[in-house]
């Protein structure tokens, strides 16, 4: 079946002790270190996006507030959405893909470790391109609006995370703000796709002997589905962004109606990506929950094949529902009806998952650890988001809810109550494996309580203001609309939520140093990552296990089957050497794509384009010739 879990084509470099120092991090190709880099970056950007959210909530706390100006508010909600989706939830999931996936399938690393490092550095480059404008803007305010440098007066992306044309075309946004956004997303897209190819091949080719598809952990399964969604959906937004860039730079008319172009083309391409993206965000969390609930109920996942097939079905249907984001755009009755029905169908596999999770817990011996609380919270909160989703799957109802706060409530229940709760659960669940210590459980329960309270206080009332007609993306509102008390309540909730996250971060860093020591398998869990040491050795497994069950570690400990076995004798271990090439390649690709932004200002940008291409070619060519690739 699977090839042996050594990196193929790799000359032996033998065991190496874990090196330290900045250089070792810049050149690392170890999936665990890259996972940590993803995790810490995601945490930082999650906090940044949270602060942006807090400013938005503070502005809306009272009617006619003037804490921030209209353009700044618009930039902040643009960056809040962009950051949370692309720099918060996605890399948080990527942290777990990187760290846990090779461990779960009994591999020593991902199949292309350098490509993996390249993905991370490119992600970081893209994240910086999106956020550097915050540092530039204060210095460009004084620029004369009639000068050639006028496009610099607005650089923080402000076209919404959805970037609807024609607002984002040059006529209506003649500033660099949109260009930075285009470049950032383009870079992040390539980073995600590169990681996607890597994980697909890793999962398909690197599984330990005996690990058939139905013996794969559900988290691994959901990762596989997500990676297919990534590599198939990101090309659509890549094209959408290329066309926008062509309009902005070279005077084409893809989105410009006066020349026959159609602004809805953007929406079709964007949501062809954007809806699968929703599942890219939520499926990893569903995978985590499918690991945590069984572990802390001491039972197998109820109906595991059904949970897996539901995940696959959700992924497939995800490509057939994009136009439900466009019910108000006037696609015609037939299209509205068709997309409405496909959207409603998604409720079925989603419901299957929820019922299976509940029946997993049913009859178990439930231990309410923090990880378990967040997973149970996930089931409850995600259900809430799913149910409100059924409401706007009906186009007539959507005509009232679209772009109102009702929708804001809906997707925060899906993405915070869903995705982020799932990721928090994953952090509490796998922290002992990654650090060798427990993440403070006593504090964990306080964190869960505070986050749960703050979250519901912030987002539950949004259903009400939404139903009372409050539109999204408004920086101010008048008195007398009946929205005042609720908005104040939401703002209070947001600060409670932020306090909960703050407590989490404090306890996270404290536990990293002082947490109680955890053993190799502190939760008595079932998948292969728990047979490694905590934290795992650089090479993960001394010997590659052979797997006989979908719960190898549990069965080894509790029967009835053998679970897994280890081969006799010593194994020769291959590990790729560290390399700086991935970082150079990422800088090359990043510069190449960012240079287009600067083409608006000066043709000198072409030099940057050339430099980027040269660095890319140099790094790729030499990296393929470096020993150990």
């Amino acid at each position: 079946m699977a090839t042996p879990a050594a990196v193929p084509h790799t000359p032996a470099v033998g065991h190496s002790a874990s090196p330290s120092g900045l250089w070792s991090w810049l050149t690392t190709v170890d999936h665990k270190r890259i996972g940590i880099l993803y995790g810490l970056s995601a945490l930082a950007f999650f906090v940044l996006g949270g602060v942006e959210g807090l400013i938005l909530r503070s502005q809306l706390a009272v009617p006619n507030n003037d804490l921030v100006s209209a353009p700044l508010y618009n930039a902040l909600f643009t960056m809040h959405g962009t950051t949370m989706i692309f720099l918060g939830v996605m890399p948080f999931s990527a942290a777990f893909f990187n760290y846990m996936l090779p461990l779960q399938i009994g591999a020593r690393d991902v199949v292309f470790p350098r490509l993996n490092a390249f993905s991370y550095w490119l992600f970081l480059f893209g994240a910086l391109v999106l956020n550097v404008p915050f540092l530039i803007q204060p210095f460009t305010q004084g620029i004369d609006p009639s000068s050639a440098l006028a496009p610099l007066t607005r650089v923080i992306p402000d076209g919404g995370w959805f970037g609807y044309a024609p607002l984002t075309t040059k006529e209506f946004s003649p500033y660099l703000s949109i260009d930075f956004w285009v470049a950032g997303l383009q870079i992040l897209g390539i980073a995600s796709m590169a990681a996607g190819f890597n994980f697909i091949v890793t999962i398909l080719n690197m599984r330990a002997p005996g690990m058939t598809f139905l013996r794969m952990p559900v988290f691994t399964w959901m990762t596989l589905v997500v990676q297919f969604l990534v590599v198939l959906s990101f090309p659509c937004i890549t094209v959408a962004l290329v066309l926008l860039l062509m309009d902005r730079l070279f005077g084409t008319h893809f989105y410009i109606s006066s020349a026959g172009g159609d602004p809805l083309l953007w929406q079709h391409l964007f949501w062809l990506f954007g809806h699968p993206e929703v599942y890219i965000l939520i499926l990893p969390a569903m995978g985590i929950v499918s690991e945590v609930l069984p572990t802390f109920s001491r039972k197998p996942l109820f109906g595991a094949p059904f949970v897996i097939f539901s995940g696959i079905t959700i992924g497939l249907l995800g490509f057939g529902v994009w136009a439900h984001h466009m019910f108000t755009t006037g696609l015609g009755a037939a299209a509205d009806a068709a997309f409405s029905v496909t959207t409603m169908l998604i409720a079925i596999p989603t419901g299957v998952k929820i019922f299976n999770w509940i029946f997993t817990v049913w009859g178990g011996q439930i231990r309410l650890t923090t990880a378990m609380l967040f997973s149970l919270g996930f089931v409850g909160m995600f259900t809430m988001g799913g149910l409100s989703g059924i409401m706007h799957s009906s186009p007539p109802v959507d005509l009232q809810q679209q772009d109102s706060y009702f929708v804001v409530a809906h997707f925060h229940y899906v993405l915070f109550g869903g995705a982020i709760f799932g990721l928090f659960s994953g952090i509490y669940y796998w922290f002992p494996k990654m650090s060798g210590r427990f993440l403070d459980e006593g504090m964990g329960k306080i964190v869960f309580g505070t986050v749960m309270l703050g979250f519901n206080l912030t987002f539950f009332p949004m259903h009400f203001v939404g139903a009372w007609g409050m539109p999204r993306r408004i920086y101010t509102y008048d008195e007398g609309m009946g929205w005042e008390q609720i908005n104040l309540l939401e703002t209070v909730g947001a600060f409670i939520l932020a306090f909960g996250v703050l407590l989490f971060i404090i306890s996270f860093f404290r536990s990293m140093k002082n947490g109680l020591p955890a053993g190799d398998n502190p939760w008595d869990a079932s998948s292969l990552e728990w047979i490694t040491t905590s934290p795992p050795a650089v090479h993960n497994f001394d010997k590659t296990p052979t797997v006989y069950s979908d719960r190898p570690v549990w069965e080894k400990n509790h029967g009835p089957g053998p679970g897994y076995s280890l081969p006799e004798g010593d194994e020769h271990i291959h590990l790729p050497p560290p390399s700086i090439k991935p970082l150079i390649g990422a800088v090359g690709v990043g510069l190449f794509l960012t240079s287009f932004v600067l083409l608006n200002l000066t043709n000198l940008a072409l030099a940057v384009t050339a430099l980027g291409l040269a660095l890319t070619f140099y790094s790729f060519y030499t990296w393929f010739l470096e020993p150990g690739h």
Binding site: M1, A2, T3, P8, H9, V111, F112, M193, G196, F197, N198, I200, V201, L204, N205, V231, L232, S233, F234, P235, C236, T238, V239, A240, V242, L243, M246, F250, G251, T252, H253, F254, A259, G260, G261, D262, L265, L269, L272, F617, Y621, F624, L625
Partner: protein, 184 residues
């Protein structure tokens, strides 16, 4: 599993490319006939010229097959010869494209002139870029194979061959939908 890592990675990459070109071709088709002013496709197309370049690209795919064949047999010299032929085929195609683009511009069709210009140049331009990247890959492959840098010449050649064939197949689709459809 049956597939080599690089080959599997190439297949997933090509799956991704299908959506990339699918989006571009979809854009072209949805804007077909929507230009508000000329030049229109029939004003500029020369089917004879494009047929020759199409034939050339198809022929290069045949050369690629032969290159893979000899790479697998371990006959590096013959493999290099056919790689060279494939590269020449690719370069000739790019030459035709350069001729075609400059001819169209001369006829007044630019990126800015209308939707046809924009969709045509972006679609065929990205295809041309893929051919150029393919030529670069083949050249790097030949160079590395000649120097003996490659651990497994056969597999590597086959993986790059997959890419080359894909780029050809995309051209067949473009040739059919963009050019031939105008003459039905």
């Amino acid at each position: 599993m049956g597939l080599d890592n690089y080959k599997l990675a190439m297949w997933t990459f090509l799956g991704s490319e299908c959506f990339f070109f699918g989006s571009l071709i979809g854009t072209y088709m949805s804007y077909r006939g929507k230009s508000l002013n000329g030049p229109y496709p029939l004003d500029v197309f020369d089917p004879a010229v494009t047929s020759i370049s199409t034939f050339d690209l198809l022929a290069s795919s045949l050369f690629m097959v032969l290159a893979v064949h000899y790479a697998k047999l371990g006959d590096i010299n013959k493999m290099l010869g056919w790689i060279g032929a494939t590269i020449v085929g690719g370069l000739i195609f790019l030459g035709f494209q350069y001729y075609e683009f400059s001819h169209f511009v001369h006829e007044g069709l630019t990126l800015k002139s209308n939707l046809f210009g924009a969709t045509f140049y972006v679609l065929t331009g990205f295809h041309g870029t893929h051919v150029a990247v393919g030529v670069l890959l083949l050249a790097s492959l030949g160079w590395a194979a000649k120097r003996g840098h490659l651990a497994n010449v056969g597999e590597t050649t086959e993986v790059i061959g997959l890419y080359w064939h894909f780029v050809d197949v995309v051209w067949i689709v473009i040739f059919t939908l963009v050019y031939l459809l105008e003459y039905t």
